[in-house]
Amino acid sequence: MDNLGDKVLRKIKEECICPKPRWQFLMKDYFIWFLFLVALLLGSLAFCVVLYVLSVNDWDLYQYLHTSLVGHILISIPYIWIIFLAIFVLIAHYNFKHTKSGYRRETYFVVGLSVAGSLFLGVFLYILGTGEKIEDFVETSVPMYEKIACCSTRKDIWVQPSRGLLAGKIVSVMDARNFEIKDFSGSAWQIQEDDDTLEYDPLRIQPGEDVKIIGEKKMDFVFWAREIRPWKNKGEAHKANARLENE
């Protein structure tokens, strides 16, 4: 009677069973590593947007939104990008665990590695300005984005003239103290400045520029500006007079 070894060998020969080529195993392993790295990269892209959104957020805005600082922080967190980061960390973890020796590592190590990798690379990409580019791209190509993204980039929050907040695009400059904007909901407003108005770098009062203004509604479609900020990347503040003197 045949022993199992002979039976198996006979089956292999009769059915012409061949070993899979080595390159297939190598390709599979490289592919899993590739997916791990892609997930890590995507996670880091999500994180660099998180950093960017947090860095351009107007942290002092809560005073005008009638909320506390904690409340403002909670609505300012870019949850959507943090969720993306978490998803890509989990995908990276899944792929790492499926590499040839990935099972040997504890889950906390793999998750830690994926998080650390994404954060480290994310900081690097943020310094390169990738966060801003991604945010701009998503903002223009995803219609719902500004409804779900963080507070300072949410246009609806900035179009509340009765609360002293107004933002939009400058359409014309009438004189040194007056210009006109079209707010993000489409209404035209005359903006008035005076000696006390603060302006934040790198502001340029010229048609086509997006600005956000904190001040007071004087009458229908006339708004007095206490502060004028560029829509993005708020820098140092100075009095409007300083700009006028330079001009």
Binding site: N3, L4, G5, D6, K7, V8, L9, K11, I12, K13, I17, C18, P19, K20, P21, R22, Q24, F25, K100, S101, Y103, R104, R105, E106, T107
Partner: protein, 196 residues
Amino acid sequence: MIEKDNCENKTDEELVALTIGNQDFFSCLVDRYSDKLTRYIMRISASTREDAEDLLQEIFVKAYRNINGFDQSLKFSSWIYRIAHNQVISQWRKTKSRPQVIKFEADEDFLKFIANDEDLALDTERKFESEEVRELLKELDEKYKEVLVLKFIEGKDYKEISDILEKPLGTVATLINRAKKQLKKTIKEKGFEFRK
């Protein structure tokens, strides 16, 4: 066909390398592991000897197909046990029926191994009836059974168990400790008497 005597002095890993050049050498590996794996499959799947042997044939054919993927950093025994473990699980999924009780061929072996373990420190002279052993094991969670089989019956160390079950060493250690604790608790609850 090769002379099987040619295989005797060769390690598993050498036989793997030879199999890639000449499939006949694979039968030596099959002969070397068929009994061990038959028992292992029966222990973890509660299958009959006939079913275990059918499954074993599939396992070896699968191993042969994947022989080029054998990871040289592993022992061959870990690799083949892993394939057996995965194949048993995939069989469970196919039939959608997980075994309720692990069926042991050598119940006393199991207890001897348990007894020799420092943590459990059971009395080796205590004679257990097969029925008692079955009763003990019935109480044990499914996830602990296989790890105990590998540790105490198959005599695998933590690293090998980690490679077979594809779990980190720490997880294997935790599973074994918890399994021992549960076993101890069950032994107490059942009122078995032991001599320290």
